[in-house]
Symmetry: C2
């Protein structure tokens, strides 16, 4: 059990609702973001909610905006300062494999791509990341077409692995096996010099 149990600070703000929403997304998925249950969880009634937001969807959009900015942007910004492109890719792979929470949310959003508020966010994000990968591969001397293909492959592997791990908690993989996998992926998807 975790978080959002009302910390006796009584008065809530819009951000409190957004944070709570992200929490629910991470644990039970987008569909579980419902006004009344959320209110219960926060120890108030929905009378409060509808002061802060006009509608349920407004909350969702706000929460997603928050996530996209805070959790997501940070990731690339860090890695972007590594000069050597090969090392940059390697670090990208390795760091992505840690840092759970963002990815849990990401995985939850993947399962909600039919929702109108979610889809555009994910499209933007995926496009951005795939492009980032493609540029890195180009810097490694790959051709235009090959870079694009490889970028898609790498990103697809990321997305797919999230599904297999987080939803299907597939193999209950022990740490050592997990590390081995990450290194294998890096070795396979980053061309040797």
């Amino acid at each position: 059990m975790s978080a959002t149990v009302k910390t006796e600070r009584s008065r809530l703000s819009a951000s409190d609702w957004e944070r709570a929403a992200l929490d629910v997304i991470a644990n039970q998925g987008v569909a579980a973001v419902a006004v009344e249950p959320l209110a219960r969880k926060l120890g108030v009634t929905k009378g409060s909610f509808y002061w802060h937001f006009g509608t349920r969807d407004a909350l969702l959009e706000a929460a997603l905006r928050r996530w996209e900015h805070a959790d997501t942007e940070a990731l690339l910004a860090q890695v972007d300062r590594i000069a050597d492109p090969r090392e940059r890719l390697l670090q990208l792979f390795r760091r992505t494999s840690m840092e759970l929470r963002t990815h849990v949310i990401y995985a939850a959003l993947l399962r909600a791509l039919d929702h109108d508020a979610v889809k555009p966010v994910m499209q933007r994000l995926s496009q951005r990341r795939i492009n980032y990968l493609a540029v890195a591969y180009r810097a490694l001397g790959m051709g235009r077409r090959e870079s694009m293909d490889r970028a898609r492959l790498a990103y697809a592997a990321y997305v797919g692995f999230l599904q297999l791990m987080l939803q299907l908690d597939l193999p209950r993989m022990p740490q050592e096996e997990y590390d081995s996998y990450v290194e294998h992926v890096a070795a396979t998807l980053i061309p040797s010099r």
Copy 2:
């Protein structure tokens, strides 16, 4: 638009409901499998439904069983007769990239992994397929650990690509680009002799 518009055969059977359910799963996802809407689509009322099935979940489980047996088993059975392991993998990759409907459903199920009826099916299936891949890689002379890693990677790439294509209809990829991608994946994930 497609299928399930009631073909004036009037009387329905359980299988009709299952097929209709799979149709809805493919188009609108698991959550949209609701008995009243389904009944409307079939031109009857739910009075009919509850004669064939005890509950909504019973329908879901039946539909999934049907899909797992019919659509899914066939896939590996075909490829399994190719003797040369390298060629077998290659064909597996290529054929998987065609044959849409099964994969559309698969993708829809990926988005419903939280559902109790769906999860076990997908776990079985994934485990089975990953193992199949691992065996194929071993036959190519890979070590035990490496085969497993590579199998996971390949399967993750498949799963992830489905998400990116089918849900995010990401790039509206033209056929030629799509083919290029598939060949790139094959070249990258099947070790050269």
